[in-house]
Symmetry: D2
Subunit: 370 residues, 4 copies
């Protein structure tokens, strides 16, 4: 199923950038779970563009409208459908360049796949705007996880050549950034990072970065050995974020140059009588299954393909070489806004895996002790 993912909890996303709305169907939630609109709105706000030279000047309130599955602030147990209206669309910007394929974008692949019938306005179904729906749905999942003692946190590990401080060890998570600020462990990196992004934008260019997510409070035993490993499920979801081109768990690509004796995480008896690992190079996952340590992964987000510099391309379907100068409103960097997309999709993925093991009812009644 092309736009639907998940086993016990499933997510379907739909919509086009310049259509009436984008939205999502989230199915498989227990009934009676609280849905806190303010928490969802806070997530939507983190994804929102601000027109401040860091993100596109297309700013929209992104209010989440529930069509089904939520009544008086609680889930009803049936599919939760939500819409986010598209209110600030200027398709004229795109008409000028409609025939010129934008490098790094899906213009060409969409044309071939949909034989010219795709909705090309504003990137259509390929627009980063579609992620707003997954943020709203994932924000609900994150609330459910919080009720089970599972916390999800994502920060900008690197952006525009500037790195954030590393994750603290242990189960303690950094504080969530205040509204309107970048998701950083070290807030002092924000101003230099923003200046580097603005400089790239001013040069008609764009920059990329790395997002890092950590999930704590997970019971051991979640996930499956092969095809439904924690890594498989999370990677599947993260590559659904436009611009993500890589993912690594724990030590990730650094494993290539480690040895077994420097890579293995020694098991030790923990303070509370449980089993822990002395290090966490495996990112909380052994054999595809959570081991009770924090799950840690990083993705790479490529630079926004929409840049104002002139580029070589092709006029299609005329099929001639051409030069492209992009107009319209674009982010010189989507990394800061993508953080909450990654965070909420990770919440969805883990809620699905937890539900497979413990059943739908456990979402509301809690995980058994075993």
């Amino acid at each position: 199923m092309k736009n639907t993912f998940g086993s016990a909890v499933s997510l379907t996303i739909f919509g086009e950038s310049h259509g009436p709305a984008i939205g999502a169907v989230l199915d498989g939630l227990a009934a009676g779970l609280p849905v806190d609109g303010a928490l969802i709105a806070a997530c939507m706000d983190r994804r929102r563009a601000r027109g401040d030279g860091l993100s596109t000047s297309r700013t929209e309130p992104d209010q989440v409208e529930f069509v089904s599955g939520v009544l008086e602030g609680r889930t009803t147990g049936t599919p939760v459908t939500l819409l986010v209206r598209n209110t600030n669309t200027r398709s004229g910007d795109y008409a000028k360049t409609a025939a010129l394929l934008r490098p790094g974008h899906a213009d060409y692949t969409a044309w071939v796949k949909y034989e010219g019938f795709q909705d090309a306005r504003g990137g259509g179904h390929f627009s980063g705007r579609i992620t707003a729906a997954s943020v709203a749905a994932g924000a609900i999942c994150q609330q459910v996880l919080a009720g089970l003692g599972v916390q999800v946190y994502t920060h900008i590990a690197r952006c525009a050549g500037i790195s954030d401080a590393p994750l603290p060890g242990g189960d303690a998570l950094p504080a969530e950034a205040p509204p309107g600020h970048f998701a950083l462990i070290d807030p002092s990196r924000e101003v230099p990072m923003q200046e580097a992004i603005r400089a790239a934008g001013a040069a008609g260019d764009s920059v990329g970065g790395v997002l890092e997510t950590v999930i704590t409070g997970l019971p051991a035993g979640v996930g499956e050995p092969f095809f439904d490993s924690v890594e498989s499920e999370l990677a599947h979801l993260m590559f659904a974020i436009p611009a993500v081109k890589g993912i690594e768990f724990g030590a990730g690509f650094r494993f290539a140059d480690l040895t077994g004796s420097t890579a293995n995480d020694a098991f030790r008896m923990g303070a509370d009588g449980g089993v822990v690992t002395a290090t966490n190079r495996n990112g909380g996952v052994n054999g595809g299954i959570t081991n009770g340590m924090p799950v840690i992964f990083r993705t790479v987000v490529k630079p926004t393909p929409s840049i104002y510099k002139e580029q070589q391309t092709v006029d299609f379907p005329a099929k001639t070489d051409a030069q492209l100068v992009i107009h319209g409103r674009h982010d010189p960097c989507i990394v800061p806004r993508a953080a909450v997309v990654q965070n909420t999709l990770a919440a969805f993925g883990l809620l699905d895996l937890i539900t497979v093991r413990y059943g739908t009812l456990a979402q509301k009644h809690g995980l058994p002790d075993r």
Copy 2:
């Protein structure tokens, strides 16, 4: 479905290291496709351990036995079931350390997940041996792809600190390594790589590496925008390979420090009237969909967790700290053997995506021109 993956073509894998056999069910193939046993045997041979100080001394012929779905060398259209018998099992080796959790392995997570009822002999269902079944199934898929003009190639990009030569540009693939040799573009790297692996093994340690896969001959338009993107499907499958901890497409994690103008692949009209890209930093995928350029990805394979050096661990379920010295037969490096696993699973994943778009019959009758 925990051990089943795929949409139009699906793969189910099963078995334990010391059970009677491991195997796979491959469903969704058209009828009448040739199944060349020699080609399958060649793939099995590449995965086979050789007892040469580079891989475990547990060597088995790994003959593939067809139980269903193949008649007189051709698919019948119904599920292809295959078994690989376990012939060389020495469970005694494992009994000695059964209560001591092996760091970096799934011993602990399996115990929690299966509440002590897992088959722990030789790693059970978590053994790398299970991948033999996916190699056999994927080798069939690779044959089907070859009939459609699609070629899949994987080499050891880096291992034990030694890198292979880079991929040649264009659609030309390096030659497949001769039987018994490492999958390398530059054969002169084999001896130093083997020496480095043997040195690690002699030190009671192990090493990791990076595998790189390239797929050529793909039509543009394969894959789906979000959850079934080419990257999502391939990443999902690659993380089903034990020890894989990261994956990146095209420029991958290098995108973090690129700019839009250095990251975008300019479109150009190709020699044959088709659209090509001047560079291929996106690894052949835009918006989750193939663009007709080679699909390129790399995975990182962590060092074999089974090492002979003494390690700290826990006696479980006794729940006391302990020291572990592993006996048994283990690879000081699984990267060379994992290459064919990655190659065949990639073949399976692409055959699935191609079948979604073109239908089951196209596997046999070819892809339409459009």
Copy 3:
């Protein structure tokens, strides 16, 4: 996935009777397929209540609003999302009887399943109103099938004790009933049928019936041997229609008293050089796969459980025996309105099976000759 069904084409339905809207997501359509709003509206009109003593006095225009996937009258290839607004809701009617379980309804099972958090207004997610969304989605599928030469027709085989004329033999289908009329082969049965329904309604009671569907123009070879047989897929879908309690294919339950020699359909060479069967007692399906003859099935629709006669029931969660008198607006018979629900869901099911075999592109470009 609870509210999603289908392999190559998938349908997700959502909504509650008294929520803002009900709707559907239809995914897996090729791009460029015409979407004729007038044909959809005609299907919606057939399902619509008329407040004429035959159906509930809750009448709504049931306009279909496209949220995504359709642009300028054609599919874009991405998920088609549609909404039908709920405009005529009178929840007060239900508040009176909220604690009294309505016999034959899902009041009790919903309460247990959703632990009291279900949306109980107007039957919530269990209302027959939800089928409006599947009619709209299925109507699009029916148009796609028509473009492939496949026709779907459903009539009221029996209702309120009165039977319709039997299906004509061969590939010729009866004419579709004019707007506002019952789906009958013999229009002269309409008045007596309506009188019998009105008489039941006037007595505070309700009646059931049998719906019969025939699909012509199907190629042989569609469907799968076991779990995805044509019968399995269609039965799965038909039991998603509230009130359907049985389904039979071809001779159906009459097979119980036939012999092999009276049950088998002899194969014969047809006029056009193809293989046909002399009779069609197997309803066009052998071994789960279409044989090229018309696919024929019948469902039984139980009498509307909402009746005005006093009934014994339980006050829940007070858990005491009680008497119930239902108010509100209800159909004395849903069979006539259910005909188009069955017809459009059957169209969806067959489009899915056809797409599995021939691929997404075949929806637009036609089925190959083989």
Copy 4:
């Protein structure tokens, strides 16, 4: 997935009648569940042919061989794979009639679907023999259900024109028939039923019948509103049994001529403080969800298509009209042997639905009180 079904618990079946073995993969079971080989053997024995004029003279011991997922009599939590060897194959019988399509069989549809590459020996993948694998897998599910207090029972409601006694009311199930005997509530019907079957066989003909299944001990709240209703899931599975052409729940097709007041099941407070229904015309399911009363359904099984009487058919691919006289070994009636197939597939279906709601671990630790 064509030969795989199920959500939380999944079943994959494979094999051909004259291949080396048929088998199944059952995934999604908790670890540590007892697997009683004697109970499985008893189910296999009920499906076994006896060569007694009632069933085919192809008699095989049908021993179940576990390949994975079972260790020392308990599940390991990983996929359970089982094989049943084909030991008594006489393909020569079939060669004589290979080109003549057998009416009522899948010969023609298989040829078209698989373009002549199907394994036609003994019906290949379409043989009723494949059901032996689902019996073994379902027998395990039945044991798991029994541990949860859920009982499944199937009897021959009608066969060869002779009806069994009706089901007793309430939760008490009839006793299972002794080995070698028909599944009948009233054992006195066995001899006349057998005589009628033998008479049909002696006349070169065959007979059909009706199977009725009842499941008791189910908690209320299992199943989903629309596409995953209890009826949808069970119907999907039952139509995977070759020769089943209809299914009805509770009053089934009799609903067509009932009224709401004679069809509704009144709710009443039960002796133990729970809610019950005074009658059970809805077969234990309201709105697709169990209501705690016994789930009851009936299927119709068509007469065995293989008869010895001469039949009209077509020589294919020669494409000429022809006469067919079938040799080989065939059952004059498969209804008695199909009873255990239906029973065990029903057990599988319910275990899947229960697991969706309560999670995998509940299979072993029991259902919570709520």
